[in-house]
Symmetry: D2
Subunit: 138 residues, 4 copies
């Protein structure tokens, strides 16, 4: 974590009061922490838009009985092995698997790999979520 | 606007530096203004989740040549006239209209009306966006 | 509306059954209508990403007592008058106004104007939502 | 996978043509597959809103040098061990860790745990994404 800098901001009392209620409910210990999180969320969105380095998490639900599906997914993953950091596999029930992949790379690249995996025939549902790497969010 | 309150927050230097770059790009005049907006965005999300009073804007694209469509839309609007504040109609081209409605009410109610309008047969595309009323966002 | 084309799709029975329940609840009259809407939603997202022509609706909440705010907003609107199709103004309460603007242009341009309006000092909350023009969504 | 059911839908030619372009770009092999995905996405959103059983993936970025942070995160995880299916830990750089947790439970519960983890002091950024379990999405 880089050096801390302190500064003052002024806000309408009502806004502050409402904000305090919400962050208490969410479990934040103090205002600074909650504001830092809002700022980082904002920076992450920017990093994604500007094709900067991001970390992506892809969550896939699929039926492992679908012919060739595991092979196809493994195949895609090997094509992009440089961008795939880890894979976690969970057995949801007799038929269904959950696979969570962590990807790293430019946001455009990560998005492309995510879409390729999610659109593979037999994948029932998939979601990609992107986070900036530590450098981008201070 | 309620009375102003001033307080200090501390942030990692890198985070602040990145944040300043982004808000300058977006056209904010100062940090307080940008942080206030992030907080309000957060409060609006909460208000929506908790079925509080909100203002909703519904944007509809539809072909006014589709039989009975205008009638149906007018019909829905009259059913909920207490929640409909205004309607703006724009002629996109020979066939297509854009209609923007401003709604007011509990978020659940506003969402229901929005979905009803958007799902009407012949409406090509529709979006609902919700904003808190002034009271909720200080 | 362009000529209709009919084609068949096959789906798992359970999926179809769950989908039918949801669209009935939302008020759709039939499956085709609901699927068309999902497709259009998808096309709109693509159009936005690829900087195609879109229609944008900007919703602003602001306090008209803030000095110079109305002037500043009018100023921005005149700078981009070619992209601003209409403006609707609503008096929320003694202090607060809601303004809904309809914009037209490439998605990047529309986003830029929206951000400029939303980030204006004194605007309490703002949201931009984009819809494709009729051409893009068939 | 449950038994397949086949049915016909009719769409405007232009819409279909635009849709085909987009799904080809995204890597779908055929229209049925792409439509199934849109439907499931829709069902997942419904399941989340109605507090049904979901699977959630929480992605956290944090500095493991922050005092007591790992302990606190572990603590939260043990409090909710019944809802936590797996945890994957990745070393981003000297200071920063990425942790991906897979959660299972009612959407409200999963959201609560996710928010608790994300709001923990020292967590730089976090995101929660929810997927329905296989049963909900056919």
């Amino acid at each position: 974590m880089s050096e801390l800098e302190r500064f003052g901001i002024s806000l309408p009392k009502d806004l502050l009061c409402n904000f305090d209620k919400v962050i208490t409910k969410k479990g934040y210990e103090n205002r600074s922490e909650a504001i830092r999180d809002l700022m980082r969320e904002n920076l992450v969105e920017e990093a994604i838009e500007e094709d900067k380095e991001v970390v992506g998490t892809v969550t896939l639900v699929y039926d492992h009985h679908v012919r060739d599906l595991s092979d196809k997914l493994t195949h895609v993953q090997h094509d992009f092995h440089k961008n795939i950091v880890s894979t976690t596999h969970i057995h949801l029930d007799h038929h269904n698997c959950l696979e969570v992949l962590v990807l790293k790379g430019k946001s455009g690249k990560v998005k492309g790999i995510g879409e390729k995996l999610i659109s593979t025939k037999g994948v029932k549902h998939g979601k990609l979520v992107m986070t900036a790497t530590a450098k981008e969010i201070g």
